[in-house]
């Protein structure tokens, strides 16, 4: 089995030592077959530099923790094979989110405020009866909801978005997709006006300039262009016709 040395250029910065300016640090490790960025980072931390900060939990593209900028593009470290990349592999932390240190960012706080602002829960006056038989749902609707729910909140769409990079209050594709999920859900009894108040502004649907970096870089291949357009059209109908 042939061995190959791979060079990594990794962003280093610790907010606790701000006197030390951000810099790129190089590491060289041996590439093994099937190696992901995630396994490479663990190897670097174990063998070369225990101070390197990065996030991971599930290593199976479910938790969304290990998103970072890999050779310029937002990707999941656990889903990206080193073998698919050429030359030096450059790793940067996701922009927009608060930098914890090196490649580690706090997406949690950001997504928490997204949930609150979009009111990402079912709004209903119905009283929940735990003994009743669950209401049936049309299979097509269930699939539509599920499609939007596949979002793992990794933040790749937000990091790739120019608007999100310069406007801190922009909800981005993740936020708009989240609202789309509730719009198709028949259990949510929100009125058009209530939805409009949540997302009918430049912080929501109308802030998007259709640069489609979200659509291009979603690790879950969510249909973000059509989700954004769906919400935009809905907002037009809600805003002009009230329905």
């Amino acid at each position: 089995m042939s061995t190959k040395q791979r060079k990594f250029s990794i962003f280093r910065y610790n907010p606790n030592t701000p006197e030390k300016k951000p810099f790129m640090q190089d590491y060289v490790i041996e590439e093994v077959p099937g190696m992901t960025i995630f396994t490479a980072l663990n190897k670097i931390r174990e063998d070369l530099d225990p101070s390197l900060m990065f996030d991971f939990v599930c290593r199976a593209a479910i938790c969304g923790s290990c998103a970072m900028i890999i050779n310029g593009r937002p990707r999941l470290a656990c889903k990206t094979l080193t073998g698919d990349l050429k030359g030096t592999i450059t790793l940067m932390p996701l922009p927009v989110f608060k930098l914890i240190g090196d490649l580690s960012v706090d997406t949690g706080t950001w997504f928490r405020q997204l949930q609150l602002r979009t009111e990402a829960w079912i709004h209903t006056d119905k009283k929940f009866d735990p003994d009743a038989v669950e209401e049936r749902m049309d299979n097509r609707v269930a699939l539509e909801i599920y499609e939007a729910e596949r979002c793992i909140e990794c933040g790749c769409c937000i990091a790739g978005c120019v608007t999100a990079n310069i406007r801190e209050d922009f909800l981005g594709a993740a936020g708009i997709n989240r609202v789309a999920r509730f719009m198709v859900d028949p259990r949510d009894e929100r009125t058009p006006q209530q939805y409009f108040d949540v997302i009918g502004s430049d912080e929501g649907a109308f802030g998007c300039m259709a640069l489609m970096a979200c659509d291009d870089n979603c690790p879950m291949q969510l249909p973000l262009q059509s989700q954004l357009a769906f919400v935009r059209r809905k907002m037009l109908a809600f805003g002009l016709l009230g329905k």
Partner: protein, 211 residues
């Protein structure tokens, strides 16, 4: 909420802004493409060009159309221009981001902003020249293009770029068609209009400069 924001709040303002951007943009693309087809009548001869120009004059279409287009032009600048970041740090972020991401659509947008600003300047000069040299006749246009062919060449390229990708982006935004075929169709239309424009420019250049 603060008092000044409470008193001035219009929840639909940004919806209207977005619609104005869409409608003025689509109108301008429609105008530009029609305009280029009209100019290209020079390919059929001086007479055809003059007859069309005369027709537009006789039915007052020019006198209604030109002020209307100027109004739409200015409105579009205000509506689309609202998105432009002006702070130094925002500018730095965008350029850095575009270089890093290498996303085609992101770069297209950066150039669309630049072409938009350039069209604002060059388009205004163009309108001024045409209006002060009224009426539009084949020989006066030909002389203008003979002298300032480089100006018209630049404006043609900028205009077609901005219009072609602008209409593409609006369709992407509103999601009426999928992205890939949409990009292909807008590129094809742009190529045809560009070819017509270049041919007309060449004919005009050859025709002009006699005096």
């Amino acid at each position: 909420m603060q008092a000044q924001k409470l008193l001035t709040r219009n929840p639909r303002a940004e919806l209207y802004y977005d619609l104005v951007e869409l409608l003025t943009g689509v109108t301008l693309v429609g105008f530009l493409w029609t305009h280029m087809i009209f100019v290209a009548t020079i390919l059929l001869g001086k007479q055809t060009f003059n007859t069309l120009s005369q027709f537009l004059d006789d039915y007052y279409l020019s006198y209604v159309g030109i002020p209307f287009i100027i109004l739409v032009f200015v409105t579009h600048i205000l509506a689309a221009g609202r998105r432009l970041p002006t702070r130094y740090q925002e500018q730095k972020i965008i350029w850095r981001h575009a270089r890093m991401l290498k996303g085609t659509d992101t770069w297209i947008w950066v150039f669309q902003v630049i072409t938009g600003a350039a069209i604002f300047a060059l388009g205004s000069i163009h309108m001024w020249m045409v209006i002060t040299g009224w009426p539009i006749r084949a020989m006066t246009s030909a002389d203008r293009m003979h002298s300032f062919w480089w100006f018209y060449l630049v404006l043609l390229l900028l205009g077609e770029y901005h219009a072609g990708f602008g209409i593409y982006r609006q369709f992407v935004k509103w999601g009426w068609f999928p992205r890939k075929p949409l990009g292909y169709v807008t590129k094809m239309i742009t190529a045809v209009i560009l070819a017509l424009g270049l041919a007309a420019l060449w004919v005009m250049y050859e025709l002009g400069g006699a005096v």
